[in-house]
């Protein structure tokens, strides 16, 4: 049996399990005349639970940036014991979450109760398989009313076959960050199209060398530039179809723009999280297309670019000339609950807290909350603080609604493919345009070993 057919067989067995789970409670009820435990197949949550132990501690995996969420929770709920373990959050497609869970699957024990992942595409994996990890959340576990409180579309990446398997922590649509004070100083107009962006990049490289308009040094470059350009390179059809077309004019044109700007020096290859980036470019970032969470991660961060108040604005996403603007999305973490959790009630309280509570999402969260009520308040706070220039709240809200839906969420990481295939060759001085065919092959190969039929 080939890998592909085995993988494509999975959803079917998942459906069988689901059917068994739906039917089983009815059988148990008729047999015993009413169960009381709320555990096992008799669970009201729509999946088979393990024996519940009230008061058992929650094991929570988060990345370092989400540690404050756990701290806020323990302060608000001192009665629920939480054991926190920090890991890399699966950043840059490292796959840590998946490999660790699979190891626990083999061992048959040891799973965490709650996991935070930075990778949206983890749901596509966590929901399937012989022993799926993620608990379905909308089959009776969370109130529908609570789930409806998320920003429309926010739960799309975590919805597999119509069932929600994870809750989004924050929205991470790409906006066009720019420094208003520098634009005023140089007398430039803020670009609204990719064509104008290219012109501006060349102009600033000539007139004010050292100032930058973007970076391709991070693994999410495809999401920032190619997703926003409508490049059809991450198309998922159904559960097992994948296609990538890097010969598409949108992909080629975007690669050309980036090549021009890399050559001119206004688009750099440093990762925005390198110490060197901060050293070289503090006060010199004229523009930086990037996700909303750059706000707290870079600009309003004393350890990073630490921009003075009133200088940085979150502009609208860029469009191709004559076309409607769309944008990409970089992560926006997801919270998963384990099917194996022995304290699902506490896990639910935890998830409700970290996704929607004001104590965390409004007061502490570095990025735009995915929970709508919290998101609106967060934007209000940001606007009221007067830190950002321009109409921050309105522009971010607009961008959040513009995420292009032609970009899918496959079981593998676009970021990992970009990092290993493209990044080192760009660093060696090759042109992005020339790397497109190799990049496409790498994507198709990766899709294939992950059980996709490449179309």
């Amino acid at each position: 049996m080939s890998l592909r057919t085995r993988l494509s067989g999975r959803p079917r067995s998942g459906m069988l399990t689901l059917a068994a789970v739906v039917v089983a409670p009815a059988l148990v009820l008729t047999a015993c005349g009413g169960g009381t435990s709320g555990a096992g197949a008799d669970s009201p949550y729509g999946f088979e639970t393990v024996e519940q132990e009230e008061g058992s501690p929650l094991t929570v995996w988060v990345d370092a940036s989400r540690q404050p969420a756990v701290d806020a929770f323990t302060e608000a709920h001192p009665d629920i014991p939480v054991t926190v373990e920090t890991y890399d959050g699966g950043a840059n497609g490292s796959g840590t979450f998946q490999t660790k869970i699979t190891a626990f699957d083999q061992a048959g024990s040891g799973w965490p109760d709650v996991v935070f992942s930075t990778q949206n595409n983890d749901a596509a994996w966590a929901a399937v398989g012989q022993t799926p990890f993620a608990a379905p959340l909308d089959q009776g576990y969370f109130d529908q009313e609570f789930l409806d409180g998320f920003t429309p579309g926010a739960l799309d990446p975590t919805t597999v076959d119509g069932t929600v398997y994870g809750l989004r922590n924050d929205l991470a649509s790409v906006v066009t960050w720019y420094d208003q004070s520098l634009f005023d100083e140089f007398g430039y107009d803020v670009p609204t199209t990719w064509e104008e962006y290219e012109e501006l990049g060349e102009r600033v490289a000539e007139e004010h060398p050292g100032y930058i308009v973007g970076s391709v040094g991070d693994a999410w470059t495809p999401e920032v530039y190619f997703w926003g350009a409508r490049a059809p390179m991450n198309t998922v059809t159904g559960t097992d179809g994948f296609s990538a077309d890097l010969t598409d004019p949108a992909a080629v044109r975007m690669a050309e723009i980036l090549d021009t700007l890399i050559d001119s020096g206004s688009v750099v290859q440093d990762s925005v999280f390198d110490a060197e980036f901060v050293q070289k470019y503090t006060g010199k970032v004229l523009m930086l297309p990037g996700p909303v969470w750059f706000s707290g991660a870079l600009f309003q961060n004393a350890d990073s670019l630490d921009a003075p108040e009133g200088t940085i604005a979150a502009g609208l996403p860029l469009a191709w000339e004559g076309e409607e603007a769309v944008t990409g999305n970089v992560g926006g973490g997801t919270w998963f609950i384990s099917r194996h959790s022995a304290n699902l009630e506490a896990a639910r309280t935890f998830l409700e807290f970290v996704t929607s509570s004001e104590e965390y999402q409004v007061d502490l969260a570095p990025g735009l909350p995915a929970y709508q009520a919290a998101g609106e308040k967060w934007l209000e706070n940001q606007a009221a603080s007067g830190y950002f220039a321009g109409d921050f709240a309105a522009d971010v809200a607009t961008a959040s609604a513009q995420v292009w839906d032609g970009w899918g969420y496959p079981r593998f990481s676009q970021e990992a493919v970009f990092a290993k295939t493209v990044t080192p060759q760009l660093a060696a001085g090759k042109d992005l345009v020339d790397l497109l065919p190799e990049w496409q092959t790498a994507l198709e190969n990766e899709a294939q070993v992950n059980g996709y039929t490449v179309e």
Partner: protein, 295 residues
């Protein structure tokens, strides 16, 4: 009477020797042989059914397999050649030092890096390899590496891993070969001196041939470890944010098969292939080095 006494002594000695090796044998069977046999079983089955070479064909046709083989082969080549050459030279030099204190001190210094656990020594190397913070950044710059990404670009990696592995592992071998040199009888060395052999002549004609088995031993042990390259690329991958791929080495590929694709049969097939290749290469060194010849 005396004869029966000595045979019963020999017999009880033989019995005791079985007891002494039994601890090792039991552990070897449980944690060495049994998993290997299980891997062999997994590699030719799929969900319990015999499938012949299917698993092997699948992993060999995987687009990641060829590059991984090349990566590991290059690394092992650079590492083994470097290891054998430098360890032998350094051991000879240290042994030749007249002043005892210096020699002991040097042996200790060589040994220290090996005392660091594998993963933590790689962490140390992350700093050495990053031109912005490296204490030897001028070397990296001179070699044309301005950024960390350039240092860990695919072309440099086999050498980078070989240097890391040498730094962590060579010290122990220098100590071992030093011990081997001590076993070269003093009379032989003296005879060589009387015959007018210089340092170099002695090293090439007397010491090297007498160290042959130890060098072969080092090669066999290092080969087994080298083909299993895992920790170094794994950590560099995380540190370089994925520029060093997570599927760089064969062992990493086996890991991905097992724990990302949940394909344990494919993973076992890679493990068996690795075993066959390293056994074959080990045989080469055993025969060439005369490791099991008795004097």
């Amino acid at each position: 009477m005396a004869a029966t006494h000595s045979t019963s002594l020999a017999r009880s000695r033989a019995r005791m020797s079985y007891v002494f090796v039994s601890g090792y044998t039991v552990l070897l069977l449980l944690f060495g042989l049994a998993p290997t046999l299980f891997a062999a079983y997994l590699s030719v089955t799929d969900e319990g059914a015999f499938v012949g070479a299917d698993n092997f064909l699948r992993v060999v046709q995987d687009f990641r397999f060829g590059p991984a083989v090349l990566h590991v082969a290059l690394f092992v080549l650079f590492w083994l050649v470097g290891l054998i050459f430098f360890v032998v030279v350094l051991a000879l030099l240290v042994h030749g030092l007249a002043r005892r204190g210096v020699s002991t001190g040097l042996r200790f210094v060589y040994y220290v890096p090996g005392a660091l656990a594998g993963a933590s020594s790689v962490m140390l190397w992350l700093f050495v390899l990053d031109p912005t913070v490296s204490p030897v950044s001028w070397v990296l710059h001179a070699l044309g590496n301005q950024t960390f990404v350039q240092t860990v670009s695919p072309g440099n990696l086999p050498v980078v891993f070989a240097i890391i592995a040498f730094w962590t592992g060579a010290g122990g071998w220098i100590v071992v070969l030093y011990g081997a040199l001590n076993n070269v009888p003093g009379e032989v060395m003296e005879a060589a001196k009387i015959d007018g052999a210089g340092r170099l002549r002695t090293a090439l004609s007397i010491q090297l041939p007498m160290m042959r088995k130890w060098i072969a031993y080092m090669a066999v042990m290092s080969l087994a470890a080298g083909t299993q390259l895992f920790v170094e690329p794994r950590i560099l991958s995380q540190a370089s944010k994925g520029v060093v791929p997570v599927d760089y080495s064969l062992n990493q590929l086996a890991y991905l098969y097992a724990f990302k694709q949940t394909d344990h049969n494919g993973s076992a097939a890679i493990a068996i292939l690795l075993l066959v290749v390293s056994l074959g290469l080990s045989m080469f060194f055993v025969v060439k080095g005369g490791l099991f010849e008795r004097d």
